[in-house]
Chain length 423, copies 2
C-alpha cells in the first residue's frame, strides 16, 4: 500500500475503532481484562511453532540484508523467548488494576465530597522498531490500564509482530472484549507513522516510541500529541569527597558494566579532587580488567596512563557500550554544573556519606530519578515495584521516570452532593 489517500483512510479508521474500543475498555471489569491477558498468553504457548515460523521469515530477510548480528539477536524468537513473553502477559494480569482507584478525597465545609479517581487515558499509540516482544508487552500494559492501543512495529519484525498480535486479538475476543482494543497497523509505510504523530483526528491521546535515538527524535519533533519518552540516558555518578570509596568503585562498576546497552547505564563519572588520587587508579584497574575503555579529563589522565584523553563530545555521548568518561571536579558545585550542562535528565547518582551533600543533590539536580549510594541501573519500573514498564520518560509532564500501568492513567473528579447549589 503506497497510495497516500488509502493510508489516510486506513489510519483514520484505525483511530475511530480504537476510540470506540477505548470506551468499552474504560468500563471493562478487571477480571475481563485479566482473562484476555491470560487467554493471549495461553494462545502464544499453543502457537509457539507458528510464531517461530513467522519469525524465521523476518530473520531470513534480515540475514539477506546483511543486518548486524546484534540486531538479528534482538529480532530472533525461540521457545524460551516466547515463553518469556507469555509469562510477561500473565504477570501483567497479576498487577493491581489502576482504573477506579481513589487518589484523594476532599471533604468540603459545605458537605460536598469530592473524589479524585483514576481513569484510563484513552488511546495510546506505540511506535517501535525491531523487538517483536514489544507487541505483547506494550499491548498488555495498555489493556491492563484500560486504554486501547495502536501498535506500529518496524518492517523488520512484521511477520513476528503479526503472529503475536493475532494471539492478543484472539485473547481479547475469547474474553468478550473488542479485538480493536489492541490494533496492529497493517502497513509498514512510514506515512502511517506520520498520521499517528498527527493524532488521527484526536483519536490518539499519547504516543510512546520504543527504539533508538533516531526514532525517538523524530517522534518528539513531529508529534502533535503528548509523548512519553526519553531521547537518551546520559547518566552521571558523582563521587563526593565524603564518599565510601569501596562503595563508589562497586557501584560504578555495576552501573557501567552490568549491562552497557541500557539507558540507565552510567556514561560519566565525576570525582571530587580530594579523593581522585585514591579512587582513580583502583577504579581504572577494575574497569580495564572488565574490558571497559576509560576516557578522562587532564587530571584523570595524569593519574593513570591507561586513561585516554576525553574530548568535548565525550561529555554528551551516550556510549551504550563498554566505555566510560571520567572527570575530576574541584568540588560538588562543579559536579552539579557539569550535570546541569550535559545531563539528559534521566538518572543520576551521588556516592556520599555527607547528608547535606545528598540533600543538595536531591533538591538541585533536575532529573527523573536520583540515586544515593545506589547503581543507576536500578532505573527500571520493575526495580521500582511497578511491575512492567512501557518505557522511561524524561519529560516533566504527567509521567516522569518509569511508565507503568498507573502512569498510563488520568483521573477525574467525582463530586457527591445533596442538591448543592453554589451561593
Amino acid at each position: 500500500m503506497t497510495n497516500q489517500a488509502d493510508i489516510h483512510t486506513l489510519m483514520m479508521g484505525l483511530g475511530e475503532r480504537a476510540r470506540l474500543a477505548a470506551r468499552g475498555l474504560a468500563i471493562a471489569p478487571t477480571d475481563q481484562k485479566d482473562q484476555a491477558l491470560r487467554e493471549s498468553a495461553a494462545l502464544m504457548r499453543v502457537r509457539k511453532q507458528d510464531i517461530m515460523a513467522a519469525n524465521q521469515k523476518d530473520v531470513a530477510t534480515a540475514k539477506e540484508n546483511n543486518i548486524s548480528a546484534a540486531f538479528i539477536d534482538r529480532l530472533t524468537l525461540d521457545e524460551g523467548r516466547i515463553d518469556a513473553i507469555a509469562d510477561g502477559l500473565e504477570q501483567i494480569a497479576l498487577l493491581d488494576d489502576p482504573v477506579g482507584t481513589k487518589l484523594a478525597e476532599i471533604r468540603r465545609p459545605n458537605g460536598l465530597v469530592i473524589d479524585r479517581v483514576r481513569t484510563p487515558l484513552g488511546v495510546i499509540g506505540v511506535i517501535f522498531e525491531s523487538r517483536p516482544n514489544v507487541t505483547a508487552d506494550a499491548g498488555a500494559l495498555c489493556l491492563k490500564s484500560g486504554n486501547a492501543a495502536i501498535l506500529r512495529g518496524g518492517s523488520d519484525s512484521v511477520h513476528s509482530s503479526r503472529a503475536i498480535h493475532q494471539c492478543l486479538a484472539d485473547g481479547l475476543e475469547a474474553a468478550g472484549l473488542s479485538k480493536d482494543a489492541i490494533q496492529l497497523v497493517p502497513t509498514t509505510d512510514r506515512e502511517a507513522v506520520g498520521k499517528m504523530l498527527q493524532g488521527l483526528h484526536g483519536n490518539v491521546d499519547v504516543i510512546v516510541p520504543r527504539g533508538g535515538k533516531g526514532l525517538v527524535g523524530r517522534v518528539q519533533q513531529e508529534a502533535r500529541v503528548p509523548v512519553f519518552a526519553h531521547l537518551e540516558g546520559i547518566c552521571h555518578i558523582v563521587v563526593d569527597k565524603s564518599a565510601d570509596l569501596t562503595m563508589a568503585k562497586d557501584v560504578i562498576l555495576n552501573a557501567k558494566m552490568r549491562r552497557t546497552g541500557i539507558c540507565g547505564a552510567v556514561e560519566t563519572v565525576l570525582i571530587d579532587q580530594h579523593v581522585s588520587s585514591l579512587l582513580v587508579p583502583e577504579l581504572v584497574d577494575a574497569l580495564v580488567e572488565m574490558g571497559c575503555e576509560v576516557r578522562g579529563c587532564d587530571r584523570t589522565t595524569s593519574l593513570d596512563d591507561r586513561v585516554k584523553p576525553a574530548t568535548e563530545d565525550d561529555w554528551s555521548t551516550e556510549y551504550l557500550d563498554a566505555i566510560v568518561s571520567v572527570r575530576v571536579v574541584d568540588d560538588f558545585d562543579q559536579a552539579l554544573d557539569h550535570i546541569g550542562q550535559y545531563s539528559s535528565h534521566h538518572t543520576e547518582a551521588v556516592i556520599a556519606e555527607d547528608d547535606a551533600v545528598v540533600q543538595r543533590f536531591f533538591t538541585e539536580v533536575d532529573s527523573a530519578i536520583l540515586m544515593h549510594n545506589a547503581s543507576t541501573q536500578f532505573a527500571d519500573g520493575g526495580e521500582f515495584g511497578m511491575g512492567a514498564e512501557i518505557g522511561i520518560a524524561t519529560g516533566k509532564m504527567h509521567a516522569r521516570g518509569p511508565v507503568g500501568v498507573e502512569q498510563l492513567t488520568s483521573f477525574n473528579y467525582r463530586v457527591h452532593g445533596k442538591g448543592h447549589t453554589r451561593p
Copy 2:
C-alpha cells in the same frame, strides 16, 4: 518594536533568564517565596493611585476605540479591585507549599527506599487578554509552586499590567529573589506569542492561555509545548427518571443563572421522558421568570409553548449567556450518548436518586468533573479547596480539572541506597 530579529532576540533572552530564575526558585525556601508575595501585595496597596492612573490610560484608549461596556468593565481597576488583587496575593502566600511534598514512598525488598517528591515544572508561559489582574494571580501561583513565569498580556491592558508587574518584580527583589522569576513580555507584537508557543528553545515547559475561544484555540493549535486549558465549557445536566424534581429545578436554575458567563455554567439539560411532563413546565416558568431564554427539542416545545425550537447548532454552543437548551431523552443511555457527542469534557452533572445510575454516570462520562446532585457552577479550584486556580484543564494529561499550585508541579524519584548494586 516590529523587527522580527529583535523580537526573536528579546524573547530568547526572556526564556534564558526565566530558566535561570527557575533554578533558584526550585530551591527557594517557602518563607522567601511567601515574603515576596506579601511584599508585592503591600506595594500594590501603596501604589494604588499609580496603578489606577496607568489603568486610566488603558480605559481611555478602549473608550476611544469604542470597545464594549462589558469589556471596559473587565478592564477597569478601582481601589476595591486593587485591594482584591492584593488580598489574592496574600491568600496564595497562605497556601501550603507543594514543592518538596512526599507523594509516595516505596520500600523495596532489597532495602532501597524510593521517595516520589513534588518538584516545580520549571517555566510557565501565561498568555492572557484584557483582565489585568491575571498578571498578579498567575504570577503568584507560578511563584508559590516554584516556577518562573513569563506573562504576556493583551495590548488593551498594557499599562495596567506593567504597573502591577512592577509591584511583583519589586516584591521579588525585596525578598531577595530574582525579579526574572516573574517577567512580563515588554512587547505587544503578536510575534512574541508565536515565539512563546514554540517554547523559546526549550525554555518554556507549559503554556496556560487565559481568555476567549479565539485565543485558546490558537494556542492549542500552534503550541509545541504542553498546554493547560479548556477551549469551552459545554456542560450538561442529566435529570434521571429517579431524580428529586424539586432538587433538579433548584440545581438547574443555579447552574445556569448564578453566573451565565463562566465556563461551569450549564448549557444543555437532558430530561428523561418519564419525568419531562412534570418538570419541564415548572422549570420553564422559573427560567423565564429569571430572564432566561429556553430552546428545546420537539418534545420540549410540545410541553411548553414558551420554549423556542432548538437547532442542531444549539447542542454544541457555549452560550455564556442567559440561554439554555433542553432535550427530552428516551432514557439514561440516550443522555450518555448525547454527552458523548457534544460535551467539551469540562463538567457534567446528574440529578438522580438511583445509585446504579450515578455509578454509571461516574464511570462512563469522560469529563474532568462529574457532579451528582450538585450545581455545575461548583467547578472551580476555590470550591475544590485548592485555593486559587490558574484555570481549568480539559486535557487528560498531567493536570485535569482545576489547575492550582499542586497541578503546577512535577515530581522526581529519590532513591536511598546503602551501596546497592543491581544483580
